[in-house]
Each structure stands twice: as C-alpha cells, then as structure tokens.
Amino acid sequence: MNSGIADKSGQELEVQIIQILKEERPEIDFESSSDLVSDGLIDSFEIVMLITEFEKKFEINIPGDEIVPEAFATIAAMANLIRKLRTGG
C-alpha cells in the first residue's frame, strides 16, 4: 500500500490521505472544511500523528520548516506537501 504512490494520480493520493484522517477521526467529514486547522478539526497533536503516518506510509521525511498549519489545512495542501517531498521539490 505504501509503495508506488508517486506513480499514482494526485486524486488517489488524496483518497489515501482521507483514509488516514478517517482512521484518526472517523466521525468527521474532512472534505467539507476549507481549513481543517482553523476549524479545529485537526489539532497540534493530530498533526504530530499525521506527520508520523505520512512519513511511514509515503516513505518521506517531512522537515521541520514544512510543518506549518497551512500545510495541513486541507486535503489538497497535504497532498501537495507529500507530492513535493516525494519528488524532492
């Protein structure tokens, strides 16, 4: 499940991110929020858990200066972050 993600479409990546989020907080509709952090749907400790999950699942290393609230504000922002780190951008 964690291999070959770079070959998959961005949409599939977003589906996997939603799946990870749902595992953490199944009761929340993450797609309906325009800012998950500001809306209080993701707190600082959940960001910590997401970093750990993303690094493990997508085989990336998220540097400290990328760990800003905006990077976790939406599914698209998280996908962009992962895509950027996967391609070394």
Binding site: R25, G40, D43, V48, M49, G64, D65, V68
Partner: protein, 353 residues
C-alpha cells in the same frame, strides 16, 4: 546574547524526584479524546510514566533533599557556597524568594549571593550563565544552581496536551572555579521572543489576574479541559517553534562553534517530548546515544530540570564528554551551552517520599 568563559566547570549534578509514579494508561480515561488516538499518541510522544508529587511537596522540598545529599556525599559544603540560584516557576511563596529560604535552611555564609529566577525550559542555560558570570565577576569559587519545577498541581488532569508531559523534579548543580581545564572555553548563547509570552502561560495567580476562587474548567477546541489557574500551552505554535526556530538555532551554534555532529559526544536537549527529540536528532544528524530522551520517557518534563537530569543520569564512563546543552520553551526563550563534562559529575537520581 553570546558569552564565553574559560575558568569554570560543573563539578556535580544530582536530580531529585518524588517516588510516586503516574502512568499514562491510568490517565487515558480522564481525557475526552478517542482512546485509540491517546494510545497512538503515547507511542509517538513517549508517554509512559512520569513523576507527580503527592501532598504538598514543593520544588524547594525536592531541592533541599538534593543539597543535603550532595553535602552527605562530601561533594558540597554549606560554608563554601558563594551563590545560590533558584531557577523555577514554582517558588514556595510569592514573597520571599525561595533561595533565601534555602540560604537559611543550610546556614549558607552571610555574603552568599542568593537569587530566584522565574524561568522554565531554558532556565538551566540561564542559570549556567548567571553562575559563570557571578564567578567571573568575583573571586568566589563555588555557585549552586537549583533548577526544576513541581508543576503538576498547576496542570489540569483533563488536559491531554500538558498533563502526560509534566514530571515533577528538582536538580542541584555545583559549579566551581576550574583549576584543571583553564584553556577549555565554555560558550553560551541565549535568545528570546517575548511576543510569544502567552504561548505557555498560567493566566491567573499573579498580579495581572488574581485568583478569586470561582474559576471553572472550560473545554478548549482540542478537547482539553482546564481553568485559568492551570497551565495552558498553545500546542500548535509551540510545536512550530520547536520545529523551526530551535533546530535552526542549534545548527547555527554548531557552525559558529565549528562543530560537526560527530564532534559532540552528547546533545543534552530539553526533554519536551520524545517526538521533538527525535525530530531534532534527524535534523542535526545525531544518534539516539548522542541525543538521549531517557528523562522525558521515565520521569517526564520538569522544565528547567530536564537538562541537569540528563547530566545526572549519564551512564558511568571514564571519558570527558564534549556536550551541547540546549534549552527551549516558555518566554519564548531558547539557548545553548557548549562545554566539557567530567564523568564524575553525574550523581544520579534521588527518590524522595
């Protein structure tokens, strides 16, 4: 600020903790959060056990036990103490200074300089600067730093952001004029960002907001419950601070000092939590042996006490260690010290009832 000293050394460090242990597993039912997320957090953050006082034990009580223990081991004598710095956010009284109480309790000399410094996670770095500066400005030979906090009474039991982290402890460090390593330079750098003063705060209890007795617990957006009498941490901003400002600062200090990670035997960094230590290891390219996290895992985060707790628990060896000490937290404030430590410095952890 940056400062350099070359004629002083740390000669002994001891940690003191209460014997009562609180386990994260027992605390999980106190939190409103999903149980499985709490256990996942336990693994990531290194939550397991931490020390929490029972009754009215104070930071000063723990410190007294540590000073008495060093005296009983012949590592300190009351009549040789020229200065005592009490670094803590939990003094016995608003008035007078706790250092004055300790001065009286141990019958320190009348010309001993005693002062309290209200500081937390970067407090030990400031305590070292104060001690070296004091010794540098006088012809004195011995300064003592008490650093630590009994913070658990100020933290809500229903605050998952903070309660699992806190560990009550005090430490005692003896600083002496260095007759052995006169050529060994000690460097200290300290920085502050007061615009972040409210990122870690106990809102009530000081002159700005008095406790009137009817403070009620409120649930925050992250599901934690606390009142204005409790410590509150802006987890998001503090976390961002530890991931950006702190590693950049430590890298800068390493460059200024001309040190590569492999040149440093130990990075004794403030034990905020295991996740942050792990991130700092990766950023600085240090191993787990070089940058230990044993204090936060076993005892919890005792603010200014964690760095000296690391020194106190260094496994016995015969090597002189090149050490980079790093503190960061409340203020916001952060700092680093580059110095050498002798293997005989570490005096372990004393448990008191």
């Amino acid at each position: 600020m940056r400062a350099y000293f070359d004629s002083f050394r740390i000669s002994a460090v001891i940690g003191v903790v209460p014997s009562s242990v609180s386990y994260f597993d027992d605390e999980v039912p106190n939190y409103t959060h999903d149980v499985s997320s709490s256990y996942k957090l336990k693994e990531i953050m290194g939550y397991g056990e931490h020390r929490v006082v029972t009754g009215n034990t104070t930071t000063c009580d723990l410190a007294s036990a540590g000073i008495a223990e060093l005296i009983s081991r012949g590592l300190l004598h009351s009549d040789e103490v020229n200065a005592l710095f009490f670094i803590s956010q939990t003094p016995d009284y608003i008035i007078p200074a706790t250092s004055s109480f300790l001065h009286g309790q141990f019958h320190l000399p009348a010309d001993a300089y005693c002062v309290d410094i209200n500081d937390g996670c970067n407090g030990y770095i400031k305590g070292l600067f104060e001690s070296f500066s004091f010794l540098n400005a006088t012809n004195a030979d011995c300064a003592v730093i008490v650093a630590g906090d009994v913070l658990s009474p100020l933290v809500s039991r229903r605050d998952r952001n903070s309660f699992p982290l806190v560990g009550d402890a005090a430490t005692v460090t003896v600083i002496r004029r260095n007759k052995l390593w006169a050529n060994d330079k000690i460097s200290i750098a300290i920085r502050n960002d007061g615009s972040g003063f409210d990122k870690l705060i106990v809102p009530a209890g000081g002159a700005r907001q008095k406790i009137i007795g009817n403070e009620v617990d409120e649930l925050d957006s992250e599901g934690n419950s606390r009142s204005v009498r409790n410590l509150r941490m802006n987890g998001r901003d503090v976390f961002a601070f530890t991931q950006t400002v702190v590693p950049d600062f430590l890298q800068e200090i390493m460059e200024v000092e001309g040190l590569k990670p492999s040149d440093v035997d130990r990075f004794y960094l403030h034990q905020a939590n295991a996740f942050i230590i792990d991130r700092l290891r990766k950023k600085l390219g240090a191993s787990a042996d070089q940058m230990p996290d044993r204090i936060v895992r076993k005892y919890g985060n005792s603010s200014s006490g964690t760095i000296p707790m690391l020194i106190a628990t260094e496994p016995k060896g015969d090597q002189i260690l090149r050490c980079m000490l790093g503190g960061f937290g409340v203020g916001l404030s952060w700092g680093a010290v580059n110095l050498m430590l002798q293997p005989t410095v570490s005096q372990g952890i004393l448990e008191v009832k």
